[in-house]
């Protein structure tokens, strides 16, 4: 009897642990990050509106970073035009997802004719831990108010999407169904002693997970994560946080460089060591205008990364700084100031 009781206790513990584990997984996967880099693009950059008519234009918002953007709100007021935005605000945009805001611009019969240059002011927020940052970005918009249309103008069919809300409901639905099926199969196994329903549900998870994952391009995401080595991620070096501060000796050495030098800074959006390396190069360049630089996203320009030697033994290593004229490379962000100065002084 005592052994049987022990077995029961162990089983209950296992079940509790499993439940706890999957709850954490569920919370974890719903957890959202920070630091978005939003990319805005208009469906049409030259918009023609007839007097007394209307036109629609879509603003596509892509979140290319690993973090979620929040409270994405557009501001567009143009004298003489009635502007309606749909949706008026996107509450959140998860990593690697996109959304579209559709603006409906209506001109009255008295709106003056001619070209008008305007901007859409975008406001959004991201948070790292308890620190939140607000971003403003202006999207240029060129309008041309034309004479009243003689024939009805066909409006482009642009559908507004609030990616986060829609996909969240789909995801919650899919996960909810999965959990429900799993629970039913487990109950059948325990109460009726039938094993095949649980196996069938798990096979469904395999087929469904892989198929839907591939449909969502998650296999590419996995490959991308595996292919790029961020030096701080697996503990090759410590992630440097905060803004880099140049030493006075470093500033003198940088100012003394009298050669035109171009640097390429290779980074990945999820790399924790990269922002520091980028900021360091920016700081160095402000002290010596002869030093030019460009940031290269290795996911966007893999061929350039390969040509530049940023790929080490098949792995793209970031952050990496390349001196273009000599082809010299340095990796990582540790003791970066001295290594960067050495790189700049070599052969100068």
């Amino acid at each position: 009897m005592p052994r049987r009781r022990t077995v029961q206790v162990i089983r209950t513990t296992r079940r509790t642990l499993a439940l706890l584990l999957w709850s954490v997984v569920a919370i974890g996967i719903l957890a959202v990050g920070q630091e978005p880099i939003l990319v805005f693009s208009l469906t049409d950059t030259q918009i023609e509106i007839p007097q007394g008519g209307e036109m629609v234009v879509g603003l596509r918002i892509e979140n290319g970073s690993v973090y979620e953007a929040e409270g994405i709100e557009p501001f567009l007021e143009i004298e003489g035009l009635v502007v309606q935005a749909e949706p008026e605000e996107i509450e959140s945009l998860p990593a690697f997802e996109d959304a579209t805001i559709v603006f409906r611009l209506s001109a009255s019969g008295e709106t003056p004719l001619g070209a008008v240059s305007h901007v859409i002011e975008m406001l959004y927020t991201y948070c790292i831990g308890e620190q939140c940052f607000q971003f403003f970005e202006d999207i240029p918009l060129d309008l041309l108010i034309g004479p009243p249309a003689t024939v009805p103008v066909e409006l482009p069919d642009i559908v507004p999407t609030e990616s986060s809300t829609q996909t969240l409901w789909i995801d919650l639905g899919v996960l909810g169904c999965g959990v429900l099926l799993l629970l039913v199969a487990v109950v059948i196994r325990r109460r009726m002693g039938l094993r095949w329903p649980l196996s069938a549900v798990l096979i469904l998870f395999v087929l469904g997970g892989l198929t839907y994952g591939v449909f969502l391009n998650q296999h590419e995401q996995a490959q991308g994560i595996g292919a790029v080595l961020c030096t701080s991620c697996v503990g090759i070096e410590e992630a440097q946080h905060g803004m880099p501060e140049l030493t006075s000796a470093g500033m003198e050495a940088i100012s003394a460089i009298d050669q035109e030098i171009e640097l390429l800074v290779f980074y990945a959006v999820w790399c924790h060591a990269c922002p520091f390396a980028k900021a360091m190069v920016e700081a160095v360049a402000t002290h010596n205008p002869r030093i030019a630089y460009r940031f290269v996203d290795v996911a966007q320009e893999p061929e350039l990364a390969e040509r530049s030697g940023v790929i080490q033994s098949g792995r793209t290593v970031v952050p990496a700084i390349l001196r273009v004229d000599t082809g010299e490379l340095i990796f990582g962000a540790e003791k970066l100031e001295s290594r960067l100065i050495d790189l700049l002084e070599d052969g100068s």
Binding site: L194, G213, G226, T231, S313
Partner: protein, 265 residues
Amino acid sequence: MKLRNRRRIVQGSGLLLGLFGATGIGMTHLIFPGLHCYACPLAVTVCPIGLMQNLIVFGTIPYFWIGAIVAYGLIAGRGFCGWFCPFGTLNDLLAFRRVKTQDALSYSKYVVLIGTLIAAWYFADTMFCKLCPAASLEASIPYLLLGVAKANRPFLIHMATLGATLIGMVLISRFWCRYLCPMGALLSLFNRVSFFHLHLSTERCTRCRACEPSCPMGIAPHIEHDNHNCIKCGDCVDACKLDALSLRFEWPGKGSAKKGPQEKR
């Protein structure tokens, strides 16, 4: 051929897949069915634990990852630890002391797994990777030799975790697999439903306990052949003179889920 020799061949193929980058093939979309660092210069597969942490940081619902993990769990459960995982193979090669320890301690690997998930979420970083001894061996040391890494604090932390794990492996067989491996914790959830499993014939078993000392995971196979910690290595099968234990690959729908042999005791 003894099961152990067959296992060595399969373990060799696991190592081969782990180091397939030597052929010049880059990273593939495949998730490795074990603990193998994707930062390894020769890796062509993605580490499931590293990927899981990244997906938590990104806030991605990991459908592809779930599909792959459930597939591996359903095929063999912890059989991958015993037969395929390169870090498991290292554990295997250092399994000199096949000691039996308190079973309750083995639940610590679930704590590691949950801790890994929470740390990834809380710090928005792959915290487990910075301590992972597999990464120490497969990424830190190779990158030091390649000149990318330096013998800095993170490197020394990696060496400390690797050293401690190696000592643990020598003192307690399959130390990492038993107590600490988060991938083992994930696969163990599927151990009872996996196609590849350890079968016990209660008719043949005389409870002679000859299998017990052979188990590198410290399990008594004749009473808990479907234990969550069983890595299905088959050492107990080799040790059993009565052929009461066998490794089988069969559709799990066969038979009843009730009244496992260990409960009849």
